[in-house]
Amino acid sequence: MKSESSELSSNTLGSQVGTAPHMEGRVAGFSVKLDNFDGPFDLLLQLISRHKMDITEVAIASVTDEFIAHIRALEGTEEGWKLDQATEFLVVAATLLDLKAARLLPSGEVDDEADLALLEARDLLFARLLQYRAFKEIAAILADRIAIQERTFARSVALDPIFAALLPEVLIGVTPERFAAIANRVLTPKMAPTLSTEHLHLPMVSVTAEANHVIASLRRSKSLTFRALVADAANTLVVVARFLALLELYKEGQIRFEQVMALGELQVTWTGAESGEISVSDEFDRPPENREEEKSGA
C-alpha cells in the first residue's frame, strides 16, 4: 500500500480513499462535535481507519447522542428521517463499539485464551470496518454506472424477413422441466413479498460456531451446567444455537447429560477427546429453501 510511506495529511489520504463524490447518501450531512474532534462523521471514521485517531479517545455515546439529534432534526424536514441512514449508523457504531472494547483490553498479561482471541479480534474488527466502508463506496460507483447505463438503449431488432427465412430450425435447447422452471422464475412477482428485516440488524448465529465455543468451554472445565454454558449468550438465538450444538454433540457421543429432576439443572460433561477437531453437522446453518431450478443458462 503506497500511502503508508509518507506523513500525508489526513485530507490527501481522504481524497485517495475516494470520499468526495461517492460518500454522498452515506450518513450524509451528519457531523459530530466532540472534545477532540469537530467535523463530518465520515471524516472521523476515516481518521480512525487510518490510525490517525485513537478509537479509545472517541466518546461513542456522544457520537450516538449527536446522531439521534441529527435524525430528530431530519424528522422535521420534508424528507423525513431515513431508515437506511439510521441502520447504517447502527452498524458502524456497533463496529466502533466492538473495536473500542477490544482496544481497551489490558494488553499486558494474557492469561485466558478468550482474552487472546479478543486481542486478535481487535485488528479483525478494524479490518471489518475498513471493508464495510470499502463496499459502501463501491456501491456508489455501481449506482453511478447503472444510472449511466440506463441512458443508453441497445439496438435489438428482429431480423429482416429475408434473412429470417434462412434461419436454421430453432433450437429451444431446454427440457420441458427447465422451461417450466424458467416460467416459474419469470412469473414470480418481481417484488419479493418478504418484509425486509435488514433494519433489525440481527447478528448471525451459527450452530457450528457455537458448537466450537461449547466444545472449548467443556474441554476447559470438563463439566458445566447448561446455565453456565449460556451465561454469556448475547441473545436467545445464541442460547438456541448452543442447545442445538449440545444435541449434536450428544448424538456424536462427545458429551453426557445429567439432570437430577425434571426441569432441574442440566449438567453437561465432556466425554470426548482432549483435543482435535470435532465435526458438528451444519444442517442448522443452511438456508431452509432449496430451489428446484439450477442456475439459469447464458
Binding site: F153, A154, R155, S156, V157, A158, L159, D160, P161, F163, A164, L166, L167, P168, E169, V170, L171, I172, G173, V174, P176, E177, F179, A180, I182, A183, N184, V186, L187, T188, P189, K190, E292, S296, G297, A298
Partner: protein, 184 residues
C-alpha cells in the same frame, strides 16, 4: 450543418424496431418535417460516402437502419451460423410467459417481463414459435399463443403437457393484472 438534429435522428433510428416515418420523427424531435427530411438525406448520403456497412433506407413509409446490401452474403452467413439457431435468454423467458399465460397480449407480456418485448415477440413470431390468435375484447389488443411448431420443438404433444408451475403461482394470477395495470 446542425449535427444535433442528425444525432437525434440517428439515436432514435438505431433502437427502433419498426420503420419510423418522417412525421413521427418530427413530432418527437419537435422540428419541422422538412428539416427531418433534410437530416435523413444528409445521413443517408454520409453513410454512402463513408462507405459504411450499414445504410439508412425508407421502406413502406418509414426509415430504418439496414445492413448494406453489398454485405448480404456475410449477414446470411452469420444468420446461418449455428449460434443463431439457439433462442436467446430473453426469447426463452418471453416464450415461457406466453406458453403458460396464453392467450396473452404483448402489453401483458411486457408488464410481466418488466421490459419492452417488441423485438423479442417479433422474433418468436418470425421463428414460428408464436402466432396471433384474435384480439382482446376490452382493449382490442392482439393476443398471442404458442404454435404447434413450438410443441414439436420442445417435444410435447399439447400445451396441457407442459409441466405444472409451482403450486403457489396460480394464486398470483390476480397479481399479474395489478402489475399489468400499473405498467400499461
Amino acid at each position: 450543418m446542425e449535427r444535433d438534429l442528425e444525432r437525434s435522428v440517428e439515436a432514435i433510428l438505431m433502437v427502433v424496431e419498426e420503420p419510423v416515418s418522417e412525421v413521427v420523427l418530427a413530432q418527437i424531435i419537435e422540428r419541422p418535417t422538412e428539416e427531418i427530411q433534410a437530416a435523413l438525406k444528409i445521413l443517408q448520403e454520409q453513410y454512402e460516402a463513408e462507405n459504411r456497412g450499414f445504410a439508412l433506407k425508407q421502406v413502406s413509409g418509414g426509415w430504418r437502419f439496414y445492413s448494406h446490401p453489398d454485405l448480404a452474403p456475410l449477414v446470411e452467413k452469420f444468420v446461418l451460423d449455428g449460434q443463431q439457431a439457439k433462442l436467446t435468454q430473453a426469447a426463452l423467458e418471453t416464450l415461457a410467459v406466453i406458453a403458460y399465460r396464453q392467450p396473452i397480449s404483448r402489453a401483458r407480456v411486457s408488464a410481466i417481463r418488466g421490459v419492452n418485448v417488441e423485438a423479442v415477440m417479433k422474433t418468436l413470431v418470425n421463428r414460428g414459435l408464436v402466432e396471433e390468435c384474435g384480439v382482446e375484447h376490452e382493449t382490442g389488443a392482439v393476443l398471442y399463443r404458442t404454435t404447434n411448431y413450438f410443441l414439436e420443438r420442445i417435444g410435447l404433444n399439447s400445451v396441457s403437457d407442459l409441466p405444472a408451475l409451482a403450486p403457489f403461482l396460480p394464486d398470483v394470477d390476480g397479481l399479474d393484472e395489478v402489475i399489468a395495470s400499473l405498467t400499461e
